[in-house]
């Protein structure tokens, strides 16, 4: 009996030594939003990284409500080694508080400027210092019901005249020209506002407003704001009117498009994730085209730049070097990035690195590959636009999507709305809280 106990004890002791031995290295923690986490992340990223770095253990933990959880953890001094935020505008706040490690030295040493798309690299900088890397990027396009278009002999619009003509034709056959809604996400208003700003006022004017060269009350901005109001309120193009817009949630608008109740939808490429399911159930086909320029000021079509979540290194982390290695591992392998992105339908984890057509996993939807290929070519020529959640500071950003509803309901005029917007921007300019804005190709109008 005694011998048996002794053997068990020795075995347990040996096991304990083994465990301690495994913990000799460094453990780094990375929290991520659970809804956006690819199911293959453990195998593709975590296990691969840990296998390549025996002295480091990467632990990826999903969080239901990452933003709020992270803010509380930071206050408690319990934040993870890698800080994920919902967007570039959020990181500024953490930088101000000294919570984020500057990454310039690591970036120079590891050649990150060559690995990450130029505009995305710039979007991670504040005051010329690199603080974050976008974990995903996206843009906005015009989705359309291909079946409806083919049945009616329509071709996707490439300019405002064609756009108006299709809208009129859709009304003639008794369907909504466009669908959208904000019932499940009130800030959806900013998707439309951003698209109209870029497609009507044009990239040059939006850029100038962003850097303070023209005020937000400029006629081009006012024209864009009023055109959206006109389409939404006067023309009732969006799902049949304002009240339906406010009642529609994310699923409702995809159903309207897939069933052919609506012809088109201006929305983000995050729809690549899941939109096919709605069309499959409806027995129809979908496709996308770039958003058509809506005025002469807009020039040739471009793509709005949008970074989604960002990742940074916690300045209080005792394992900064290991955390940097994890970031470098992620951005050094385009195929790995695309494996993660493919798992979530290219709606998340599209880390903005240089990938080519061949890097996409076999079986990737042609429409998705076409978007990323065209995006790279077009934005490479400087035909870029600006999404509000990437380039607007928080307070003006909230004002943009919240107070525009008062314009739509006729409580305030477009001028009053933009005057307040300009006032809030001026506060941000005075306090130096502006985000980096890459310049577009000029003179293309």
């Amino acid at each position: 009996m005694f011998r048996r106990v002794l053997v068990v004890t020795l075995l347990l002791a040996a096991l304990g030594v083994g465990v301690v031995g495994a913990q000799d290295g460094v453990t780094i923690t990375w929290w991520t939003q659970s809804a956006a986490m690819p199911s293959n992340i453990q195998a593709v990223l975590v296990d691969a990284f840990n296998a390549a770095h025996p002295d480091i253990t990467l632990e990826m933990t999903p969080q239901e409500n990452l933003n709020e959880t992270l803010r509380v953890a930071i206050q408690a001094g319990e934040a993870p080694d890698l800080l994920v935020t919902p967007g570039a505008s959020f990181i500024a706040e953490f930088v101000d508080a000294g919570l984020v490690e500057p990454l310039d030295d690591a970036a120079a040493e590891l050649g990150w400027a060559d690995k990450i798309l130029d505009w995305a690299y710039q979007s991670g900088q504040l005051g010329g210092v690199l603080y974050s890397i976008p974990l995903t990027y996206e843009s906005l396009v015009l989705f359309y019901n291909k079946t409806v278009f083919e049945e009616n002999g329509w071709t996707p619009p490439t300019n405002i005249d064609e756009f108006n003509a299709i809208a009129a034709a859709a009304e003639d056959i008794g369907i909504f020209p466009l669908t959208y809604g904000n019932a499940t996400w009130q800030p959806s208003n900013e998707h439309l506002m951003g698209m109209y700003l870029n497609a009507f006022a044009g990239r040059e004017n939006v850029y100038k407003a962003l850097v303070g060269e023209i005020p937000w009350t400029h006629e081009s901005i006012a024209g864009a704001t009023d055109l959206l109001r006109q389409h939404l309120v006067d023309d009732v193009w969006y799902s049949g009117g304002l009240e339906n817009y406010f009642a529609n949630g994310g699923d409702d608008i995809r159903v309207e498009l897939a069933t052919g109740d609506a012809a088109m939808m201006l929305s983000g490429t995050w729809n690549f994730r899941g939109i096919g399911q709605f069309f499959e159930e409806a027995g129809t086909e979908w496709d996308w085209v770039p958003i058509p320029p809506m005025s002469d000021m807009a020039g040739e079509y471009g793509y709005e730049l949008a970074t989604g979540t960002t990742v940074s290194v916690n300045a209080q982390s005792p394992n900064k070097d290991a955390a940097i290695k994890a970031l470098d591992f992620l951005i050094s392998d385009p195929a790995l990035v695309l494996q993660l992105a493919a798992d979530v339908g290219f709606g998340e984890w599209v880390v903005p690195v240089h990938f080519g057509v061949d890097d996409f996993p076999e079986g990737t939807d042609e429409r998705v590959v076409r978007f990323f290929s065209d995006f790279a070519a077009v934005t490479g020529e400087g035909r870029i636009g600006y999404t509000t959640w990437t380039f607007w500071p928080n307070d003006p950003n909230v004002h943009l999507w919240e107070a525009v509803e008062n314009v739509w309901w006729g409580d305030i005029s477009v001028e009053e709305y933009l005057e307040e917007h300009e006032r809030l921007w001026q506060i941000e300019r005075d306090s130096g809280n502006l985000l980096p804005v890459p310049a577009p190709a000029m003179g293309g109008m």
Binding site: F94, Q186, L242, E243, N244, A247, D252
Partner: protein
């Protein structure tokens, strides 16, 4: 109530030095709870009061700005709209679920068979998560695929065929309706329990005196269940200041702030605009609301109201 007042509490009568030691012993037992309360309630609450006077963003340093946030509050039209909506919400909830609960409970007291089933049936919506309730009702109230549209198409009944949550004239009332649907079973069950405890002899005496059913309800039931009723009114008045989830999950406070309440305005201010200092100021108003309600309750008790 009288029995409680007449009960001699153990240790309430001074027994000299031994009593003091027992008193000290009780304090020692309760000390961990007091400490926990100080750490997780009182401390953060005092901190919340302090940050209402700062420009804190939620992380990093904070600067004392005096009464700047309070001055802003006076100018904040969205806040006043939200406060007005909270008052409307309170008025609705002090009336509708209470009246429904009273009626339902009173009718159920006359039922012997199946009462438990009805209790459970009425109470089930209360235990459903708000995210589930709002999801279901958002579809039922949808202007194109909802119940109103179906009634209109099928039976030609048009008056329900509206964008209840999409119109700013009806959004707040639409959400209040769905929250009432979920909530009214709670007062019903409490009131039913209170009514079941009323001495049946009181009803027999009332009947002998020729009291009608309504007079029995008015002069026997209501006075007997007053403590429960007042408790419900008190809690509803407090909860109405804190309402958040149903509105956040359906309209987010829109359209154009039509359903904005202090809770959603606070959330946007703290977690979208990152103006935590100002959000704490809004929070103080909510605290003030609750303090006024509780203060009124305590005042009435001191005036001798049996509540």
């Amino acid at each position: 109530m009288a029995a409680t007042q007449g009960t001699i509490q153990p240790g309430a009568v001074s027994l000299g030095g031994g009593s003091r030691r027992r008193e000290l012993g009780r304090w020692l037992f309760i000390l961990p709870v007091v400490f926990l309360n100080l750490v997780v309630i009182v401390g953060p609450a005092l901190f919340g009061v302090y940050i209402a006077f700062t420009d804190w963003s939620g992380v990093g340093s904070m600067n004392f700005v005096g009464l700047e946030n309070f001055a802003r509050l006076l100018q904040d039209q969205v806040f006043w709209k939200a406060l007005r909506n909270n008052l409307v919400w309170t008025a609705i909830f002090l009336v509708v679920p209470i009246v429904l609960g009273l009626l339902g409970a009173y009718m159920l007291t006359g039922i012997r068979r199946g009462q438990m089933f009805m209790r459970v049936a009425f109470f089930v919506p209360y235990v459903l998560p708000s995210v589930v309730t709002t999801h279901i009702w958002r579809y039922l109230m949808h202007p194109r695929v909802g119940l109103g549209q179906w009634l209109s198409d099928t039976f030609g009944i048009d008056f329900l065929d509206k964008a209840w949550l999409g119109s700013r004239d009806t959004a707040l009332y639409g959400i209040a309706f769905m929250d009432n649907w979920h909530f009214w079973g709670f007062p019903l069950v409490l009131l039913l329990a209170a009514m079941s405890a009323v001495d049946v002899e009181l009803y027999e005496v009332a009947r002998l005196d020729g009291a009608s059913r309504f007079q029995q309800f008015r002069h026997v039931t209501l006075p007997s269940i007053r403590p429960t009723l007042v408790f419900l009114l008190l809690m509803i008045a407090i909860w109405s200041a804190l309402v958040f989830d149903y509105i956040f999950l359906t309209t987010g406070g829109g359209p154009a702030n039509a359903s904005e309440v202090m809770g959603t305005h606070l959330y946007t201010t703290a977690f979208e605009r990152f103006q935590t200092g100002y959000a704490a100021t809004i929070g103080l108003v909510m605290v003030l609301w609750v303090a006024l309600v509780v203060g009124g309750f305590v005042y009435l008790r001191k005036r001798g109201w049996e509540i």
